[in-house]
Subunit: 304 residues, 2 copies
């Protein structure tokens, strides 16, 4: 099993021709999650051949424009496509008011139900459970309230050892129970252990999205040991003062964070528009945390 992350935008506040503002798609099995939705997300989805109707859940980290200004256009398009499935948006409290004001101004009654789920807690919180994954929010430390999100793939059932089905004459009706961990009692009352009947389930994967934030080690427990960690890296470390003043992080700090969190892999992004080539940021991060990659628009990463 794998998670698939598509970077739709890796830029920061002022967009450039190469970098759209923040938006990402995480795919877990057939489930698509949209993480942030900067201006231009609709077109980026189209470029990446991801259909907006796949989404039932959208996560907005905070209300700086480069993280949500594409949302109203996307919701409007879904309305024009006559969507009828409910849509769930997990977001800071004020977004509901903004979207509802925009709907009112355009005299639009959506063809589908739109549910807002407010992010409020100061601690890690389970905000969503689907068949495929658990999603947690946790607080970042930015100029305005801001949250990160952790996506934990659910354990998958084990695989049956095919030859054991015949050997113990296991009825079809028992298969699901056994794949979920039960032992089997045959017609003579003999207990066959689950270990004998199954192959181990594949490991589950985790992805954590750390949106805009100052370097803050108190966030580490929320993302400990994740397989893939996205952490903003707006500036190179020589601009540490600017980063700190603006509640942002340097590439070096992102790598320190990943190292202390014992993440398996780090992906950096949210680059300031001052950087054309971001190789210096990548090198800086790799000097501390070797397994770092640099986000770029339309990059696809599989965590398998």
């Amino acid at each position: 099993m794998s998670l698939k992350l598509t970077i739709l935008g890796c830029g920061s506040a002022t967009p450039t021709l190469d970098r759209n503002p923040t938006a990402q798609v995480l795919q877990v099995l057939e489930r698509f999650f949209l993480i942030d939705c900067g201006e231009g997300t609709q077109l980026q989805l189209r470029k990446n051949k991801i259909r907006p109707r796949h989404f039932d859940h959208i996560f907005i980290s905070h209300l700086h424009g480069d993280h949500y200004l594409g949302l109203f256009g996307l919701l409007s398009s879904l309305h024009l496509y006559s969507r009828n499935k409910p849509m769930h948006v997990f977001c800071p409290p004020k977004l509901k008011e903004i979207i509802e004001l925009q709907l009112k101004a355009s005299d639009t009654r959506l063809t589908y139900e739109l549910h807002f789920h407010e992010l409020e807690d100061k601690d890690e919180r389970l905000i969503l459970e689907t068949n495929e994954a658990l999603v947690f929010s946790f607080p970042m430390n930015h100029r305005i309230p801001c949250w990160g999100f952790k996506f934990v793939e659910k354990p998958r059932p084990k695989s049956m050892r095919g030859e054991k089905i015949n050997e113990y004459n296991i009825p079809f009706s028992k298969i699901d129970e056994i794949r979920n961990g039960s032992d089997f009692t045959d017609e003579n009352g003999k207990i066959i252990s689950n270990e004998e009947l199954t192959l181990p389930a594949k490991e589950t994967r985790t992805y954590a999205f750390c949106s805009d934030t100052i370097y803050d080690e108190s966030i580490i427990p929320f993302v400990k040991n994740v397989d893939l960690l996205y952490h903003e890296s707006t500036f190179a470390h020589e601009l540490i003062d600017k980063a700190t003043n603006r509640y942002h992080t340097t590439a070096l700090q992102a790598a320190m964070f990943a190292k202390k969190a014992e993440a398996k892999k780090l992906i950096i992004g949210h680059y300031s528009s001052r950087y054309g080539d971001i190789t210096p940021l990548l090198n800086e991060a790799r000097s501390v945390f070797e397994n770092t990659i640099a986000a770029s628009d339309n990059l696809v990463i599989e965590i398998s």
Copy 2:
């Protein structure tokens, strides 16, 4: 003298990879006007090498997302660039509330003054006078309140006939008066007519932007005889029922409108995303109004 129109977006509600939502830039001398500001306008400005800081005046026709969703991002970027000149936005009343709510949600106090001028009248109204042009608003007929804009180049001073300055010994201090239409009285009290002293001023040009609207001949008086008329043409005429239901216009109707308005030239746009190739819409319009051109993203039209 010329007006220069740059099409930043010629699409309609659902953007495509070839067509951004509505936005245009009209340049009159050194003055830049931004007309509508759909999602992605910032990037389109960048592609067309037009700097956002050139603008002091933005005109928003109505509050369907494809006409204004790029505005907050643009205003935010100007703030990040530390703009200090005031910005004037001419728009439907509710936009002020939307932008102010977004500013509040992002805890942003702009580095510049932002003035909203509400469009309210049901008749033609002079909404702006600069050194270069007069701008009028007038009502369209759409599902929600919507306005069009007419830009009228101001008369330019006449040119002096150089040889007359010596012939009549005209002092430098009198030149401006004469260029603006005065006769000249020489030292002997003889009156020299303005016609003898000057060449006629070049004709002034007009551009009218007819945003989303159903076909409505009551709008014609507001745009009578303009040099260039933009009129939405969302559908081909075979979809006249759909156009009418949605308060939009067909290409054929746009051409009829231009013909009755005695416009010099028509530009059609705001095409439904169902049309890949818009040649049929262009041909349909030209069958009624020969001097029609089709908008496309990044097209530049000079009215000289």
